[in-house]
């Protein structure tokens, strides 16, 4: 009995330190698989530590566990930066490591990540993450040319291909229009980017359309209570998600199957 109490205390120790605990339930197919997820988050000043556990049934090889740490650098109204890493390991000896950093200072913002994934299982390490196999890198930048014009670019490189985008956003009053172009794998696989964002009553609505060699339409809605998004893409893929208060739910369907992910964040601060 004493040993059991000690074990419980040891297991509960990280919980006592954590500031939030996210519980999730994931289900996916084509054949039904289910698995609970837990994300323990412990912010300590400028540091944030994360622990992730994803259980998986019926194939327990796909269970994965991850740890992450990130450090924020705050510069008040002038900007902020962040640098961190995360590492996942799975029961099939599969792994995913990623280092990332971001900085916004004055007129410019930059975000970069570099990672490597080895995974023979059909599932992701974490729902909705969609990590890339092999080595990959991402670089995203924003620069405000004027108060009305912002230049944006994205570069995503992975083994055997890549994707690049550049766009210009023009703010006219409360509305923002975006126009740009992108390419997948090679320059001839080009597509156009059109975006629009506007306040609507007490909410913000946004739409982004990519059309050409890459096709998708993303709609976003946010008010003080709800955040929702819908993505429709071709080749066929649809994703919908809603977040409210401490709850969030996402569902995705494509030609390989479906995913459903419900989660609840329990604040532990002050408990």
């Amino acid at each position: 009995m004493k040993k059991l109490s000690l074990l419980i205390l040891l297991a509960a120790a990280p919980l006592a330190m954590a500031q939030s605990l996210e519980f999730g339930l994931w289900a996916g197919g084509p054949n039904l698989s289910v698995g609970p997820t837990v994300n323990l988050r412990y912010p300590a000043g400028d540091w944030t530590l994360d622990a992730w556990l994803r259980a998986y049934m019926p194939n327990t090889d796909e269970i994965s566990f991850g740890l992450g740490a990130r450090r924020a650098f705050e510069a008040g109204p002038a900007g902020r930066g962040e640098a961190g890493f995360k590492a996942f390991i799975g029961m099939d000896a599969h792994y995913w490591v990623e280092a990332y950093g971001s900085a916004v200072l004055g007129k410019g913002a930059l975000e970069a990540s570099l990672g490597h994934t080895y995974n023979r299982t059909p599932s992701h390490f974490w729902p909705l993450q969609g990590e890339t196999l092999g080595t990959y890198g991402r670089l995203a930048g924003k620069y405000r040319l004027t108060r009305e014009l912002t230049l944006q670019s994205n570069l995503y490189l992975y083994e055997g291909g890549g994707q690049a985008e550049a766009s210009l956003s023009w703010r006219a009053g409360q509305q923002t229009f975006t126009l740009g172009a992108g390419g997948v794998d090679r320059a001839s696989n080009a597509y156009a980017i059109l975006g629009y964002k506007t306040p609507y009553e007490r909410a913000v609505v946004a739409a982004t359309l990519r059309l050409g060699a890459f096709n998708d339409l993303r709609l976003d809605y946010a008010d003080r209570t709800y955040k929702a998004h819908l993505t429709l893409a071709y080749p066929t893929r649809a994703q919908v998600g809603v977040a409210w208060d401490r709850w969030a739910v996402d569902a995705e369907v494509d030609d390989r199957g479906y995913e459903f992910y419900l989660r609840y964040t329990l604040p532990l601060e002050g408990l």
């Binding site: 500031q19 912010p43 300590a44 000043g45 400028d46 924020a72 705050e74 510069a75 008040g76 109204p77 002038a78 900007g79 902020r80 916004v104 200072l105 004055g106 007129k107 410019g108 913002a109 924003k142 405000r144 108060r147 912002t150 007490r202 909410a203 913000v204 946004a206 976003d220 946010a222 008010d223 003080r224 955040k227 601060e269």
Partner: protein
Amino acid sequence: MRKLGWLLALLAGAALAQTAPELLQKTSERLQAGPWKAELVGQIMGPGGDLQPADLKVAVVPEAEVVRIDFLRPDALADNYLVITPDKVYNYLFLTNQVVVYPRERARVEGLGFDLSRLGDLQDLGARDDLIWEDPVPTQLDGRTAWKLVGRAADPQNAGFVRVVLWIDRAEALPLRSAFYGEDERVLSDLTWKGFAFTDLKPDALVSFPPDAEWIEKN
């Protein structure tokens, strides 16, 4: 008779003379009278230590102790804003659409070469015993009769500035201009108060953020 007149005038002057802390207290009480807004225009030290043109919109609801500072200039900070409440400080970054939230006791309005939170708290400036104030000097500023107050920090390292100069409207008891200086008379901020007006602002109107912003809570 003439001598008596001078003596009376001297005594009356001494009786009417106000010290800088008293003037600051009076001005502070005036600013506590109700919600107000003003535009502060001038220069402020940027993140790199260089002096930049500044244009800040300040709105205050004293009863709720809520302050909001919207940056119009410098260009690098345009559209960012800062909201200070009794328990939290919210820092909105336009470019990344993020709200960084700090507990008030931990937050310093840093990142600039100068702490903006000093601007609003005139009462604190007057009450601080690490500031040595010279006698107020009657002067003119932009055609208005004003008091010029000069305070020197006993410990500049701790105070964050060496010298502060304030111009207070004599009739309205409202600030007209505030300038803070560092070592070697380096300007940390020099801001002229414009368009001061009492309003019917409510705290909710100041503590508002884009609903699609990403929230980052610091502890």
